[in-house]
Amino acid sequence: MVKELFYFLVFPGLLFSAVIGGFLSWFDRKITARVQFRQGPPLLQPLYDFLKLLLVKETILPKRGSQLTFLLAPVFALFGATMAAVFILLPAFGIATGFAGDIIVVIYLLNIPSVSYILGALAAGNPLANVGASREMKLILSYEAPFLLVLLMVVIKAGMVISFSEIVAYQQANGAFIGSVSGVIGFIVLMMCIQAKLALVPFDMPEGEGEISDGITIEYSGTPYSLIFLAKYIMLFVLPALVVSLLMSGLPLQGWHILWSVLKILLIVLLITLVRNTNPRVKIRQAMRFFWVWMNLLALIAVILAIFGL
């Protein structure tokens, strides 16, 4: 029991992934600034933002709307993100836990933050929040199918095992999946899905701040908003870690491997940041078409190639 609590609260759960995620969010903002030839925020900026929202700002509840759901949604989002962090990071670090089938649990856990944002937005009773929620819903419907297909491809390549630790162990024994044709295609599809899961440009229409003023988070202020920030930091670490453990043989922590693990995560975040800085926001219809037609097609090709062992 103590061990599970430690896993959940300290390492690799809440505390650890929040600190790393905060660092990655600074990294993302700094790279963005450098791309635009700016100086960028200081290293502790994510911490300042979080503490300011948590300690200083007043929390305002919506008058028309469900206040309990509005307050609980960020808690659920944080919980889902932390659980996903525990289930993904433990096998990625090579700590022997988990059970057969934890991939399926992770699929559900990764959806909890988005679903909670939708619930919170609908509980806020604000029309713009509703628009944001409906867009987020459509986004989930579009990226989920290619995401599942890529997972299927990984499972086929690993010889029909559905547990994270076995997939990571298989790659460490036989080379990373990204070294094959299907692996490269799967990587492209997975990166696009992650971009949409994180709701970053070009798929940031749930919160498009220019048109619907931050959309799903429009009514949040103070402590609940700080929890949403924390959940977002954690997701910014967990999703790259997911890519690394599915396709790039995990994050081993022995000796020199630590350096490689850090570089892998930074590389994925760098790719996400560059994509987000060089693209405009697309319309929700375009995003759905992009995922339903093109990404599904690519993912199917990857699955077929994986069946033939390429």
Partner: protein, 136 residues
């Protein structure tokens, strides 16, 4: 300086409210986000919703029509919130001071923490105003 005050000053999020401006001040605000002036160095960023705002930048004169809305926006912001009168218009009325629909300078309507005069203020003046706000 306590922790609360420190984190507040290190992460001021700006909300931009155009009461009745000629749009020049509004463009000048965007100038501050460009590479040359870059206020993100100080942890500032523009936010879209007033619920996330720490600083409300009010540009333009408060007119008969917008007075109600300015008050409304001020009430909607989570406290503590700072208000900056941005440009000569909101400081004193500027060239519209004689206008038929002028409702008095901004500090007659809501409490103001800093004034940045100019028509429109230069980005250097805006940065100077921000530094004064941070040292307050």
């Amino acid at each position: 300086m306590g922790l609360k005050e420190k984190v507040f000053k290190k992460s001021l999020w700006l909300f931009h409210l155009s009461a009745g401006s000629c749009n020049n001040c509004d463009i000048e605000i965007l100038d501050c986000l460009t590479p040359r002036f870059d206020v993100e160095r100080f942890g500032m960023k523009l936010v879209g919703s007033v619920r996330h705002a720490d600083v409300i930048l009010v540009t333009g004169i408060v007119t008969k029509k917008t007075k109600k809305r300015v008050l409304e926006i001020y009430k909607q912001a989570p406290k503590p919130v700072l208000v900056v009168a941005f440009g000569s218009c909101s400081c004193t009325g500027g060239i519209f001071a004689e206008g038929y629909n002028f409702e008095g300078p901004l500090d007659k309507v809501i409490p103001v923490d800093a004034y940045i005069p100019g028509c429109p203020p230069k980005p250097e003046a805006i940065l100077a105003g921000i530094v004064k706000l941070l040292n307050k």
